[in-house]
């Protein structure tokens, strides 16, 4: 039996009369890379915000890292990392200063922070940029840095909301290497994306459409089930059935 780090049962989130998440139920297991797919407006960001304690669910049970999301969101925040869709590190601080800030916020001691900083800079080949203000850095570098900062405190789970949006293919590939390394360290990775090729890299994939989860399995099983060549095809068949019929 695999150990579940995220358990979601009958999660509903409404904004007024608009239902963003309609009765979601799923589990995410420790150490896996869990892909969260869906078209824009399917409800991915809402779900990821609930899981990371930024939003409260309207109803349903959500447990993340052993804590209830409705009542103890602040405890969840201690055990997770989060990288949001919009770049949100401080652009007027340098690479080093950003790492130090978040290291400090997560309560790492000074020695560890220094160690981590050197380690990161070397691993990301960032040494030349250490004292540069972020505003002048290329997008790919920024995204990698944002990810590194999100896992600086070795959280149990890291949430990545469309981390590779607008990034060139080479950097995307490097980014996914980072995701693999992270998962190999035992950190669960929860990633949303709308690049279908990226879904192939995940251990398991769920597909959302209009606030509901319409499919959830490993990429292989999904392809078999829908008799498709790629996840992209799967996605077209289930998320946009009307479009598939015209094709």
């Amino acid at each position: 039996m695999k150990e579940a780090v995220i358990t979601v049962k009958n999660l509903v989130k409404k904004f007024g009369s608009f239902v963003a998440n309609d009765n979601l139920t799923f589990e995410v297991y420790k150490g896996e890379i869990f892909g969260f797919l869906g078209a824009n407006g399917a409800g991915k960001t809402t779900a990821i915000r609930i899981l990371s304690g930024l939003l409260k669910p309207t109803s349903g049970e959500v447990t993340v890292a052993g804590f209830d999301a409705s009542h103890r969101p602040e405890m969840i925040k201690k055990h997770i990392g989060y990288m949001c869709q919009r770049f949100s590190l401080y652009e007027d601080l340098t690479v080093k200063e950003n790492i130090m800030l978040y290291g400090g916020i997560y309560g790492l001691d000074t020695v560890t922070i220094r160690q981590k900083t050197n380690d990161l800079l070397e691993r990301l080949r960032f040494s030349g940029y250490a004292d540069r203000v972020i505003a002048g850095l290329p997008l790919g570098l920024r995204q990698k840095l944002a990810f590194a900062v999100a896992v600086i405190h070795e959280p149990e789970i890291v949430f990545l909301d469309e981390p590779t949006g607008g990034v060139d293919p080479v950097t995307r590939r490097q980014f996914w290497e980072m995701i693999y390394e992270t998962a190999a360290r035992g950190i669960t990775v929860f990633v949303t994306t709308h690049y279908m090729d990226e879904a192939e890299y995940c251990d398991r994939v769920s597909v959302m459409s209009e606030g509901r989860i319409v499919a959830l399995d490993t990429p292989e099983n999904l392809k078999k089930q829908y008799n498709a060549e790629s996840i992209e095809e799967v996605f077209i068949r289930i998320a946009r059935p009307e479009k598939a019929m015209i094709d």
């Binding site: 915000r49 916020i105 309560g107």
Partner: protein, 372 residues
């Protein structure tokens, strides 16, 4: 505690990187003091008179001479046309018109009351009032001298007379700069706290950096305190700068305890910063924030008694001022700086300021939501 230090360090780094803000922090107090202190004066020194002397007697000339001799008046126009006098008043070329009707000297010589007409431009009520007071001063001097000469003629042996001696404490020469500087220092500190701190938080919302903070386990109170401390320090540094400049440029007296002054200012800053952060929790853009903040600033400053005496406000306004931190600090500053009031004398102001500070800061922490 360590978390707060990391956050505070970040704020200072950001402020130092922002070329405009880091310059404004020191330029604003300088400009404000240089421009405001000498400019804001209610002193009414030169009241331009237009005189119509229809009597042309020794008495009327004596009275006009007294106006000319007064430091407050200058006889700028003489005319016998009432229309001309009125038009001078309408065009603003003179501030007051004096009309001495014929028969003025005769009435006085006969021992009868004599009439005198005066018209004062009172659009600015304060100026009008002062002009009136000075006018009365000149006339009552004149009256006393006629009465005493009358008494001598009546051969009264003793002329009982109460002599009035005027003295002004703390500000012998009634120098307006002494009065305005403590108040302007308050405005300065208010502006720094209100504009910088509030805009800072809203800006984080607008550009999205706050989301990354919200998903960390930082406590709400930690975040709010970290937003307050840098501006508290900057505000106090600006106050120190302002005091130094005031001493060097305007030789402002300083009677009280410097420590007490900074204590008051620090509590005040917490109150203002609390309110600023509370408002910024409601606003989603800097523009919105700015307008709400301007509104509060204008109301607070106008009702603070900086330009007009606190005692002349209606009772409800005085009651409102219980929650107006600006009113308390202006009173506090003037008392401590000019009169040397001690902590016992200003304990009421300090207590009220502390209460406001606790109230607003609690509001700010409560209202700040760590959710998207």
């Amino acid at each position: 505690m360590r978390t707060i230090l990391f956050l505070i360090r970040k704020e200072f780094l950001q402020i130092s990187r922002n070329k405009f803000i880091s310059k404004a922090i020191f330029a604003v107090p300088l400009i404000q003091l240089l421009v405001l202190v000498p400019a804001v004066t209610f002193e009414v020194k030169h009241i331009d008179l237009c005189v119509m002397d229809f009597d042309m007697s020794a008495e009327s000339r004596d009275l006009i001479g007294r106006f000319e001799g007064s430091p407050f008046f200058g006889v700028k126009y003489t005319t016998w046309s009432e229309d001309e006098a009125e038009s001078l008043l309408y065009s603003g070329k003179c501030n007051a018109v004096i009309n001495i009707p014929s028969g003025f000297g005769r009435d006085l010589a006969r021992g009868n009351p004599a009439k005198l007409f005066a018209g004062i431009d009172a659009i600015n009520a304060m100026k009008g009032q002062l002009a009136w007071a000075y006018l009365n001063g000149v006339i009552s001097n004149f009256n006393e001298s006629i009465i005493s000469s009358g008494m001598q003629q009546a051969k009264a042996s003793v002329i009982p007379r109460t002599e009035v001696r005027n003295r002004y404490w703390y500000n012998e020469m009634l120098n307006y700069k002494y009065y305005m500087l403590p108040g302007i220092l308050v405005i300065l500190v208010t502006a720094i706290g209100f504009m910088l701190a509030g805009l800072n938080l809203v800006r984080e919302k607008e550009i999205g950096t706050i989301e990354q903070i919200n998903v960390t386990p930082v406590r709400k109170s930690q975040f709010i305190i970290a937003k307050m401390v840098p501006f508290l320090i900057i505000g106090l540094a600006d106050l120190a700068l302002g005091l130094t400049l005031g001493k060097i440029l305007f030789n402002i007296p300083f009677e009280g305890s410097l420590l007490l002054l900074f204590l008051g200012a620090a509590i005040f800053l917490v109150a203002v910063l609390g309110l600023a952060l509370f408002i910024s929790a409601f606003s989603s853009t800097q523009q919105q924030y700015m307008f709400v903040a301007f509104f509060f600033m204008i109301v607070f400053i106008l009702m603070s008694g900086i330009f007009t005496p606190f005692e002349s406000m209606p009772l409800w306004a005085q009651k409102f001022d219980l929650i107006n931190p600006v009113a308390h600090l202006i009173k506090f500053n003037r008392m401590v700086m000019l009169k040397g009031s001690g902590i016992g004398d200003v304990s009421k102001e300090l207590l009220l300021l502390s209460a406001i500070a606790i109230l607003f800061t609690t509001f700010a922490v409560r209202r700040y939501r760590k959710t998207a």
